[in-house]
């Protein structure tokens, strides 16, 4: 090899090294698009959703057309507990058109988180390319979250919502609702009208039911004794009578309330479980 050839090789080598250095120089900027995306993903992984929002906003400022970043931003808002802002963002990019893939699933989760079931139906109609099992998951989720299942299951067979491939845990949750009885507040009041406290026992609150029976019973009995000994002029008869009437009325109201509370507890429990299966991730 001649001297000039050797010199040429060295120059090429140096240029190659400089190019590599330039590449490394490019990677020095921790705030460029690539680094920002990496960091935003890290923030989401470590559940720092509020910080992730800021980072994804910057990514979109640098590249507004990045659809993955758009969905990630919406998801960050949702997971940070701000579904309203997430919905506003989603609608900025796609207010009316069809929703596909991640956009569709995020949009459906948001409508459920917003408790807007009309919006859920219209969003489901807009969602295209959702698999049968995904559609089934969301329909079951909406059914459970809305809470009407507790009354409706006598007239509606929810197992019709299940499709092949539906999330097993959701299926089990749906089927478990069949075992949960609906406690009629009217029925509880009627039972307590017959036997004080029975309405509360019906609502699985037997301790309170027992107290009601004892209080109403003992006061009523004392009133009866007073009147039977001294007739209508018996003061103790009237005092205990008024007390018994007061407790009896309170017991009716209490029975109605305990049946309602029982139903609410079941609805909230099922709702919470459905939410954790559908959209806390």
């Amino acid at each position: 090899m001649t001297r000039s050839e050797k010199s040429g090789i060295k120059t090429l080598l140096f240029l190659a090294i400089l190019l590599l250095t330039a590449q490394a120089s490019k990677s020095q900027n921790l705030y460029d698009l690539d680094h920002s995306k990496q960091f935003a993903r890290y923030l989401m992984l470590t559940r720092q959703y509020q910080l992730a929002i800021g980072e994804w906003e910057r990514v979109l400022f640098l590249d507004p057309a990045d659809s993955t970043a758009q969905i990630s931003l919406v998801r960050s808002y949702r997971l940070a507990g701000n579904p309203q802002s997430a919905w506003i963002k989603l609608n900025q990019w796609n207010p009316y058109g069809p929703l596909t893939g991640e956009s569709a699933t995020e949009a459906l989760r948001l409508t459920l988180q917003l408790n807007d079931f009309q919006l859920f139906k219209s969003t489901l109609d807009r969602s295209v390319n959702l698999s049968e099992s995904q559609r089934s998951d969301f329909l079951i989720g909406a059914y459970l979250i809305e809470g009407n299942w507790i009354k409706a299951k006598k007239t509606v067979d929810p197992s019709g919502l299940i499709a092949p491939g539906t999330n097993k845990a959701l299926q089990d949750l749906l089927l478990s609702t069949r075992e949960i009885p609906y406690k009629s507040p009217g029925g509880a009041v009627a039972l307590s009208a017959l036997i004080p406290g029975l309405g509360k026992v019906y609502s699985n609150d037997w301790k309170d039911g027992l107290f009601s029976l004892v209080f109403v019973g003992t006061n009523a009995w004392q009133s009866y004794r007073g009147f039977s000994q001294n007739g209508p002029r018996s003061i103790t008869g009237w005092i205990f009578g008024v007390l018994a009437a007061g407790f009896y009325t309170a017991n009716l109201f209490g029975s109605w309330k305990s049946a309602k509370e029982y139903n609410d507890q079941q609805i909230h429990r099922i709702r919470h479980e459905a939410e954790s299966l559908l959209y806390t991730h």
């Binding site: 060295k10 090294i17 590599l20 921790l30 680094h35 960091f39 890290y42 910080l51 800021g54 004892v214």
Partner: protein
């Protein structure tokens, strides 16, 4: 040959310098944000630095992240990062500093047992300058656990003058401030005389209320027994009496616990006031 060596050397030097320039600038930015109290922003930048400098993250950065979480009140994350920084630091004094910060986190969140675990692992011999701090934190932990004898022993090592030591001793000798009112005493007082427990805990109105209520029910029971039969009185008045009587002595114990905690808080503040000057 010399020229090529020169070229290779320069480019090799440029590469790491080029990469670290982003990190060092960010570090300076983060430090200035931290100094200015912009903790949320500083936390973002420090985390960014930590993420992109893996696996050779500067332990000081991890310590700063922990400090940021601590200031924001996120104890769980602060403890996690104090741990990371502790295991990354090589300097013993700095490791101890991280340990103290972690212990202080535990103390502030009232996890005194965990604070003790951290503090008892500090090597007393290796860090004589930190001795006062260690003793102070140990005293706080034992105080929080209610072991005042041990707490006093540690607090007494801090003041270097006799006057302050005597003040500390006097504080711990003040049984009224540390041990009273006793919830058990309050409870038993109300068992024997309804309302007495509430008077003992400094709640005279609640005491009068309890006394009048249970007294009225007892009176009512006796009147009813006279007018009808004792069994009637028992069946009618007893449920009411039982409910308010039991509630009375339970509330007396509850009041006593709250009042005693307030007294201990006051004692602790006085203690810190004495030790501050040391």
């Amino acid at each position: 040959m010399k020229r090529s060596l020169y070229y290779i050397l320069i480019s090799l030097l440029l590469t790491p310098a080029a990469f670290s320039q982003g990190l060092s600038e960010s570090r300076a930015f983060a430090d200035s944000l931290f100094e200015e109290g912009e903790i949320q922003q500083a936390l973002m930048v420090y985390q960014r630095i930590a993420y992109f400098s893996r696996p050779s993250t500067d332990p000081f950065v991890l310590l700063r992240i922990a400090d940021c979480f601590d200031i924001q009140g996120d104890m769980e994350k602060a403890l996690e990062f104090y741990d990371h920084s502790y295991f990354s630091l090589h300097n013993d004094s700095l490791k101890t500093e991280a340990l103290f910060k972690k212990a202080f986190c535990y103390l502030r969140s009232r996890n005194y047992d965990f604070a003790l675990i951290e503090l008892l692992s500090v090597d007393e011999q290796a860090n004589p300058l930190m001795e006062d701090k260690r003793n102070l934190y140990l005293g706080m932990a034992w105080f929080g656990l209610g072991d005042f004898e041990r707490a006093e022993a540690f607090f007494l090592t801090i003041p270097d003058n006799e006057e302050d030591q005597n003040k500390v001793k006097a504080l711990f000798d003040n049984r009224k401030l540390l041990y009273r009112p006793n919830p058990r005493v309050a409870s038993w007082l109300s068992v024997f005389i309804p309302g007495a427990g509430q008077f003992y805990t400094g709640q005279p109105l609640a005491g009068i209320n309890s006394l009048l209520l249970t007294g009225s029910l007892v009176t009512f029971g006796f009147i009813l027994a006279y007018v009808t039969t004792p069994i009637d009185a028992l069946i009618t008045a007893l449920p009411w009496f039982q409910r308010y009587y039991q509630g009375g002595f339970q509330r007396a114990a509850g009041f006593a616990r709250i009042k005693r905690a307030e007294n201990r808080n006051e004692a602790f503040n006085q203690l810190l006031g004495i030790l501050e000057s040391n």
